[in-house]
């Protein structure tokens, strides 16, 4: 066993950059400019503009999580069952973009999706209808799916590739066809990975403001953008913190759901 002292740097780090900032958020979120206790910052979520942003955020992140799941699950299933998939090369290809800066990748999509951008120009030249999804919710979902897809693939792949092949064979042996084997055996056994993947896509999607700023053109406000503006545009740290606390509630709920169903096997990152 290592001595406890080796964990001190980590504890120090957590205290300085996680715990103390969090306490500040709580302090600002629950006080007004005079320093008196108030719940009005939390209630700010109820204004028409803010609740619309929250609902849009929830909607878009749910949608992008669902799309990620639909794309990732079959892929993970196929990769874990094939020789080339098990060699890890294709998984490597999917993880590769994760090593590139997140902002750069999102900016690349701006170039691709912009009016008179790469895709639009291609459509124009080939006589297809013009490709104009930039500055729409669709572009934001596009960006979220692109940025967070690896976080869905990895945990699912990881869990499925650990399922004993004989358990799958046993299902076949007992009369289940491929489809029955999938939904009665493989899918239930892969749930920890699915839950883990859902959390890892849903939480960053819900809180993002970069993707919506770049691909939404500043016209579409997600809850992340609202909070950002409260802080950066100098309106009110108190309201910004209050809204952050509300958002944190949603994150805590989804994390709690994930730990309830996930016994740790799905966590690879």
């Amino acid at each position: 066993m290592y001595k406890r002292s080796v964990s001190y740097p980590c504890i120090l780090w957590s205290a300085a950059f996680i715990i103390i900032p969090l306490l500040f958020i709580f302090y600002y979120g629950l006080t007004d400019r005079t320093g008196a206790f108030t719940l009005s910052n939390l209630a700010a979520i109820a204004t028409a503009e803010n609740s619309k942003a929250l609902i849009l955020s929830l909607g878009l992140s749910l949608l992008s999580t669902a799309i990620c799941l639909l794309l990732a699950y079959p892929l993970a299933l196929i990769l874990s069952g094939s020789k080339i998939g098990r060699s890890g090369f294709i998984i490597f290809l999917f993880v590769l973009p994760m090593w590139m800066n997140f902002l750069l990748r999102t900016l690349a999509w701006v170039v691709l999706l912009d009016t008179n951008g790469v895709l639009d120009t291609l459509c124009k030249l080939s006589g297809l209808p013009r490709f104009k999804i930039i500055n729409t919710p669709a572009a934001i979902v596009f960006g979220m799916v692109y940025d967070f897809l690896p976080f869905m693939i990895l945990p699912i792949y990881n869990v499925i590739s650990k399922i004993d092949i004989n358990v799958v064979n046993a299902a076949r042996d007992l009369g289940a066809n491929s489809f029955q084997t999938l939904y009665k055996v493989i899918f239930p056994l892969s749930l920890p990975g699915v839950i883990s993947g859902i959390t890892m896509v849903f939480v960053p999607s819900l809180t993002t403001f970069v993707i919506s700023t770049l691909l939404g053109g500043g016209k579409i406000l997600l809850i992340g953008n609202v909070i950002e503006q409260e802080f950066m545009k100098g309106t009110s740290w108190h309201v910004g913190s209050g809204l952050s606390l509300v958002l944190m509630l949603f994150i805590i709920v989804s994390m709690a759901l994930s730990t309830k169903y996930d016994n740790g096997e799905g966590n690879v990152l």
Binding site: N166, N169, A170, R172, D173, L174
Partner: protein, 357 residues
């Protein structure tokens, strides 16, 4: 034992250019306990997987009740498998595990409940319906795996080294259980193992395999008493295998000593392999036997003593209830009936593999 139930015809299976099974022909009867026995890599598991439908042979056919099922997927075959490491569905309780096959085939709830009760009783685990597989011991999980397979009333139960992960005591217990279940169910068991003792204990018929070829098929007594080649003799039980020469019918020369035996038909002055089981080597006072030697090792094994006697420059493995201390001068005598003569392997295919048994 009844009619032929399943036939393997000219089965060849090649992995990475290396034949695992080469023109294998084998049939299985109704209500038979047949064991495929051999060292790892002998092709026994591949044979089982071909029967179960998890592998397709590169050549040859699988005939079940007169029907060609070579390309039938596993879910369409009237046989069930008990896998090596149980392969239970860990997300289902015991009752759901057992009910899996029955639900797929659309049986009524009452029928399924009856079957679960019956199967749990058969494997001596009544009342375990609501338990989860993880909460059971290895032996119990294996019983559930058997219960899950037999409720589907297969014509054949395939068992892939099902007792391999259990400890010795439990393994012996389960061997008797399996024999009892087989008799109760009246179906064919095809059992794969590398454990010769397990094979001798349970089987009606043993098929000894090596390097993709069948070495011998017979009852446990046949295989033990009359091994057809040195591989079988070496693999089944302990044995002394010596090179010898068949001088004429009923006379064999081993290390320039003449031993009377009962084998005929090998011709004159033919080189042969001679098998003598250690329990068949009789020790006596010097000069009273065929050859004299010196005891070089002695181990107490519980039921008997195991000794090594150096005679004619070779070690003879001897098992006896009578103890001769190391260094004692002894004579060796072998009853003619207990000398087993085998042809030398003719081709490489039959080449005996030296095993550390």
């Amino acid at each position: 034992m009844g009619n032929r139930l399943i036939d393997l015809q000219h089965i060849t299976k090649i992995y990475d250019g290396h034949p695992v099974l080469d023109d294998l022909n084998l049939y299985f009867n109704e209500n038979e306990f047949l064991t495929l026995l051999g060292p790892s890599g002998c092709g026994k598991t591949t044979t089982l997987r071909i029967l179960g439908g998890f592998e397709t042979p590169d050549q040859g056919r699988v005939i079940f009740n007169g029907q060609d099922i070579t390309h039938l997927p596993p879910n369409k075959r009237q046989l069930n498998t008990v896998f090596q490491k149980y392969a239970l569905f860990t997300h289902m309780n015991i009752a759901e595990n057992i009910a899996f096959g029955l639900k797929i085939s659309g049986k009524s709830k009452a029928y399924i409940d009856d079957k679960i009760k019956y199967a749990l009783k058969l494997v001596n685990l009544d009342g375990y319906e609501k338990r989860m597989p993880d909460s059971l011991s290895g032996g119990q999980q294996q019983r559930i795996a058997i219960a899950r397979a037999i409720v589907n009333e297969p014509k054949i139960l395939l068992l892939d080294e099902p007792l391999g992960a259990l400890d010795l005591k439990l393994r012996q217990e389960m061997q008797y259980e399996l024999i009892r279940m087989k008799n109760e169910l009246g179906i064919t068991f095809i059992y794969v193992t590398h454990d010769q003792e397990e094979a001798l204990t349970m089987s009606d018929t043993i098929v000894v395999m090596n390097q993709g070829y069948i070495q011998q098929i017979g009852t446990p007594e046949d295989i033990y008493n009359e091994p057809t080649n040195a591989f079988v003799a070496d693999f089944i039980g302990d044995s002394n295998i010596f090179p010898g020469t068949m001088v004429e019918d009923k006379v064999v020369r081993i290390f320039d000593r003449i031993f009377p035996c009962v084998d005929v038909g090998f011709g004159c002055n033919t080189p042969v392999d001679v098998v003598i089981r250690p329990e068949d080597v009789e020790l006596g006072a010097p000069g009273q036997g065929t050859v004299d030697g010196v005891v070089s090792h002695l181990i107490f094994k519980g039921v008997h003593y195991e000794m090594e006697v150096t005679a004619c420059g070779r070690e003879w493995l001897v098992q006896s209830t009578k103890m001769y201390p190391v260094g004692e001068q002894v004579s060796i005598h072998v009853d003619p009936f207990n000398i087993q003569i085998m042809n030398k392997p003719e081709s490489e295919d039959e080449e005996a593999v030296v095993l550390d048994v």
